[in-house]
Amino acid sequence: MTIASAMHASGLTPAQLEMLAKTIPDPAPDLSWAGWILGLPAIAAVLCLLLGFLRIRNKLPAIVTIVALGGAFVTTLLLYQSYEGPVTIHLFEWIRLSWGTGPGQSLIADIGLHVDGLTLFWMLFVTGLGTLIAIFASEYMESDVGGDYARFFGAVSIFLLAMGCLVMGSNLFLLYLGWEGVGVASYLLIGYYYGKPTAVAAAKKAFIMNRVGDLGLLIGIYLTWRTFGALDYATIFETMKDGQYVLDSGAMLIPFFLMLGAFGKSAQIPLFTWLPDAMEGPTPVSALIHAATMVTAGVYLIARCYPLFFLHPDALNTVAWIGGTTAFVAATIGMLQYDMKRVFAYSTVSQLGFMFLGLGVGTTYGAAYHVFTHAFFKALLFLASGAVMHGFAGQLDIRKISGIRHIPGFKVIAWTMLVGCLCLAAVPFSSGFFSKDEILLVALTDHEYGVPFLGWLGLFTAALTAYYTFRVWFRVCAGPVAYVPGDDDHGHDHAHADDDGHGGLASASHGAVDPQPTAHAGHFHPHPPRLAINGVLLILALGAILAALPSYLKAADGSTWVSSMIADSSAVNGVPSIPAAVGHATGQATGQAAAHHELLGMDAHTALLLISFAIAIVGIGSSAYFHLLNRKAADVLKQRLLASPLTSWLPKALENKWYVDELYDGIFRYPVRGLAWLLARVDALVLDGGIVNGVARMPIAMGRLFQPLYNGLLQGYAVTMAGGLGLILAWIVWVWMKRGGA
């Protein structure tokens, strides 16, 4: 970065810059070993594919993946230890196109790592959680050992490789490569149960909806390159700092295209409907990709390219409004879903909305902190619901499982899930509370970028969140013991017959092999998780609690570990062309700006703490009444709402997810399908029917015409020949006569 800035000041081209970079010795220590953060998952992916081809019948693929991801985590920790300041680690050359020496006449993208606080912060939880989830999956997926086990872990390794590329890449091309890579890995993992039509449809949906966002990202990257003449972050932000660019309409559009990409990947309005459907994948995938890591890529993109979002005055405002609205809409849908994983999926969309709200109102610190805490408690919630699913033969309906905290072997799940729910509900002094309030505080009080309406909407959403989160917990974990096992369409229990005490009964619970399916419930024994699942749940619960530590260990000047991590990255500094933004962003990073804001006539922090207490009590209390103390009341309320024509639309709309899928079907899918039908008809009738087959029919018709001449008698042929000869002769004579003879 220092070399790059020096080059830039002297106005040299990137090519000359590169030549100079070779002559000037780099003073920074050689950090190229950090490439192993990407190398280890790559090796694991190749090994897993190899093991898959060899049809290994043990847990070796999981061990390979866990070791590689653990190695990547340790490498990230070592990098964090030896980190001194932002640095670009050049690994090797990749794309070098040049058609002149002037600015904007070269396209350079090398394989390199951009390491600053933001990168390290992101990679720490990506690799750390990735390792934990791989350990969880090694037990969760054991029914597939010998079958698709290697394929699953191969895809997980590919995902971690792509995610590392996305976060650590030193330029926008590498970010795009990783961006598409996580999309592919997500497609592979959502469609993991490719025998299930719904899983295949969900995989396609996720992939196609992401393509819309990816197109925006691609255009945004092109416009960035056009405006700044470079793709690597160091040069882009240096150019921006020096103001050596033209702010034309193309440059003004950069933030909007980039945010379209971010909205696609992070499931925001209008591209959010793929994420709940993505729950068709195995639960560890939901935790890894669709809660903790991949969906935060959009937040990362905006945080990383934060200076670019000052190119248009309305860009950040748009992000804030989209985020706040998504948070609210997704929370309302989450209130009336019955599928445990779907509730958490909508809560993920909702929480991502909070992160975008944070980015939009100028607190990248709040957004990054919320990403961090959310990664822990949401991964925990998903894995806990996955463990329930694992134990109850795939049952996910919260109306059909109750009181699992009283069932032996399920206590760890119940209590760790409670920790996750407390954090998600943002109960004061939990980790989720600190990160969410950091965002809402700025939204409510900041004079320049704050949007108070969105702040209040966020608080209301927080109350809804507390309600629907504890609705799951009170239904599933508390209350009287009652359960109906699922139909086990994922085949989880196949491998359990040998390793638990009641294997015979467990396998008898399979509808497919059970001679008497009616005896289902009577024979079913819940299958409690073992060490890998329980251990990971405990570690994650601990992590979810400890994620609040940065806020407790706040330094005297208000800075925390998180804010100090991102303080040296482009998420906070690097926007000097807009002085107000600089002061604002850096002020947020150190917590100073927030210190002297007021809300409702008292100190903003105190006010928010009191409000948070109130909404937590209201949310959890109403949830406890409807779903623990008086479960019939929930149904009665719903019936009352449905009975009145004035209110009956509400529960219907919520249960049907505000009819967004149907809307998209009407606007996009059906017209496109109709067009496809029309084109297929044109193809069949005009192209194939008229032209191709029509030409083929002509020789057939000619053949039909002359076929009777071929009667199989030699004399017939001879007569034909003689007749033809006679005709030719007659014609010649006729011509000869016409000419006057002789």
Binding site: R704, Q707, N711, G712, L713, L714, Q715, A718, A722
Partner: protein, 130 residues
């Protein structure tokens, strides 16, 4: 070479041993008679080919038609005092000999398959309308 030149060549060849009178000059009447014989031969061959079913007879009829053509060549060569006509006859004879060997061989093979020489025995080789 002009026709007069060719005529002179004929005369020179014919008169190597001394003056002779047996080579008559080209004459349309001679040609007409020759062509008439040729047409008759061809007609006999054609009618024979169309009416007979015996493959050997049919083959002989084609030979007749071939020789009719050869005769016409000779007649025209005489008319134009050109040796090319007679050269063609030599070629036609050669080809006819080869063809006769081939055709008779085929007839023998076909006879062995069906124990008959009738060409109608092979009418099933036709292609039917589908």
């Amino acid at each position: 070479m002009t026709s007069a030149g060719v005529h002179q060549l004929f005369v020179n060849i014919a008169t190597v041993g001394g003056p002779s009178t047996w080579i008559a000059p080209p004459d349309p009447k001679t040609l007409a008679i020759t062509l008439l014989v040729s047409v008759l031969l061809f007609a006999i061959g054609l009618v024979g080919f169309l009416t007979r079913r015996n493959m050997i007879m049919m083959f002989l009829c084609t030979e007749l038609m071939l020789q009719a053509a050869a005769l016409a060549f000779v007649g025209f060569g005489r008319m134009h005092m050109d040796v090319s006509g007679q050269v063609f006859v030599i070629f036609i004879l050669t080809v006819a000999a080869a063809e006769a060997a081939l055709a008779l061989g085929l007839v023998v093979l076909l006879y062995r398959k069906r124990e008959t020489l009738s060409s109608e025995a092979w009418s099933e080789l036709r292609e039917d309308v589908k």
